[in-house]
């Protein structure tokens, strides 16, 4: 298979061969040849392909046809222009922070809050958001980008044969959702700031544990008052112990970091790891199969075991998302994006009406809801035949 990484290697080989031929000719050394050699030797560099005019960066062992943007280009008989770029290896790893933790709960389904918390909330360091129901039609806004008169639009169509009506769709509920996510991430968050009918906030496990009832608070205060003197000594001891523990923990992390630094780097490339360590293949598969070839960092809150539990568990409630997906695709999403939940999907359906009759109906493809949802989709109507005579009559009437 022709993966993106092999294309990058081929390009670099071609370049090297090209420059090698020139080097030394007429007694002149090429400076770019040496620069390229240095760049290739430096292991901190990662080569990435970028599509022109698109925010699409490609690397890894994926065949080039898996990228949707490339397939659309090929489909429209346009040339595929790419640029070879260079990033630092530390930075070049798939980004997963784009996805907000969103859970969709349809109206009719009952669920137990505690079970949900037990199942998922351990993974969340921050509070999560939950859809109660999908926003009503009144929450959707749409308008034409350029406000033309009806006659203008029709005359355009008769002259060129194409009619382009750039349309903008805004969904109020989703806008609020992203603002909500931002406020949740900040430390100065207060519950009164948010007033949304469609969303609820799922508290993280830590905040639930920290919550105290009225009697618990009273008892703690009373004990503080009576055991004030004793506590001071105890507190000092505790503080010392804590400091000692922290120092030891830091030392241990430093030792582990040195030990496993090589493994963490290798985890970037799934195949590279397989070839190099054939004996340790089983172990490698355990790790990379779960992480899906993602870069594993010691700081991440998602440990391999936690995600493995999630991915291996068959989903009990399939209706927790409005889209019923197959098990394989669910697992793919969960493992590849390190998501504890299925992300929300979005699709726009367009219907052309003539009076009360429905003429045609099309829909865009599904989009996964990220922090930056920007859809630039063409909506074409396939089975639509319009009489020019009919349009002319319309234009005369108006």
């Amino acid at each position: 298979m022709y993966s993106v990484d092999t294309i990058i290697k081929d390009v670099l080989r071609l370049l090297l061969a090209k420059l090698q031929e020139r080097d030394g000719l007429d007694g002149v050394t090429e400076p770019c040849y040496e620069k390229l050699k240095d760049n290739l030797k430096n292991k901190d560099n990662k080569f990435v392909l970028k599509l022109l005019y698109y925010e699409e960066y490609m690397f890894g062992d994926y065949p080039i046809c898996t990228y949707d943007s490339i397939r659309t280009l090929v489909r429209e008989y346009e040339t595929v222009n790419l640029t070879l770029m260079m990033f630092k290896r530390e930075d070049a790893h798939p980004n997963t922070s784009k996805f907000p933790p969103i859970v969709y709960m349809p109206k009719g389904i009952k669920f137990e809050y505690k079970d949900l918390l037990k199942k998922y909330m351990d993974l969340f360091p921050v509070n999560a958001i939950m859809f109660r129901c999908f926003p009503d039609d009144s929450m959707h806004e749409f308008y034409f980008k350029e406000k033309n008169k009806r006659r203008k639009q029709l005359t355009k169509y008769t002259e060129s044969g194409d009619c382009d009506f750039p349309l903008v769709v805004n969904i109020k509920g989703l806008k609020n959702l992203f603002s909500l996510k931002k406020t949740l991430d900040e430390k100065k968050y207060h519950e009164d700031d948010i007033d949304l009918p469609f969303f609820e906030i799922l508290e993280s496990m830590e905040s639930v544990k920290k919550k105290q009832t009225f009697f618990q608070k009273l008892t703690t205060r009373i004990t503080d008052l009576f055991l004030c003197k004793k506590k001071n000594k105890e507190e000092e001891k505790e503080l010392k112990e804590k400091l000692h523990e922290e120092q030891e923990h830091k030392k241990a992390i430093a030792v582990i970091g040195k030990k496993y630094k090589k493994n963490i780097e290798i985890l970037n490339d799934h195949n590279h790891l397989k070839h190099k360590f054939k004996k340790k293949e089983d172990e490698a598969e355990k790790m990379t199969g779960v992480m899906g070839g993602l870069r594993y960092s010691s700081n991440s809150n998602y440990t391999a075991e936690k995600i493995k539990k999630l991915t291996n568990e068959p989903s009990q409630d399939k209706n927790h998302n409005h889209l019923v997906l197959e098990d394989t695709s669910e697992k793919f999403l969960l493992s590849n994006y390190v998501l504890p939940f299925l992300p929300g999907f979005l699709r726009i359906e367009v219907i052309i009406m003539y009076g009360c009759y429905e003429i045609t109906k099309t829909s865009t493809r599904f989009f996964i809801i990220n922090n930056d949802v920007n859809m630039n989709e063409k909506i074409n109507f396939s089975d639509l035949f319009v009489n020019i005579f009919f349009i002319l009559i319309l234009s005369i009437n108006h």
Partner: protein, 81 residues
Amino acid sequence: MEEDNFISKRSLQYFTKPIPSTILFPEKLSLNNFTSTYPLPAAFKEYNSISLKITIHEDVCDFHDKDEDKILEMEVGFFYV
């Protein structure tokens, strides 16, 4: 052109893995045949390879305004899974 190839921190946001189109088009619809790339039109099956134009960024190798050297053309296998 220059702005498009500018390496910035913002570009790191877009380092994502490709999503297979079976997920994006779960119903395998023939409904929207014009915009969708899944299921594939018959023309795609005939494509054994596609041609790519690859320009090389200045950071990788500086050619000092020799535009002919910057661009490489190559053919790559195009298999649909």
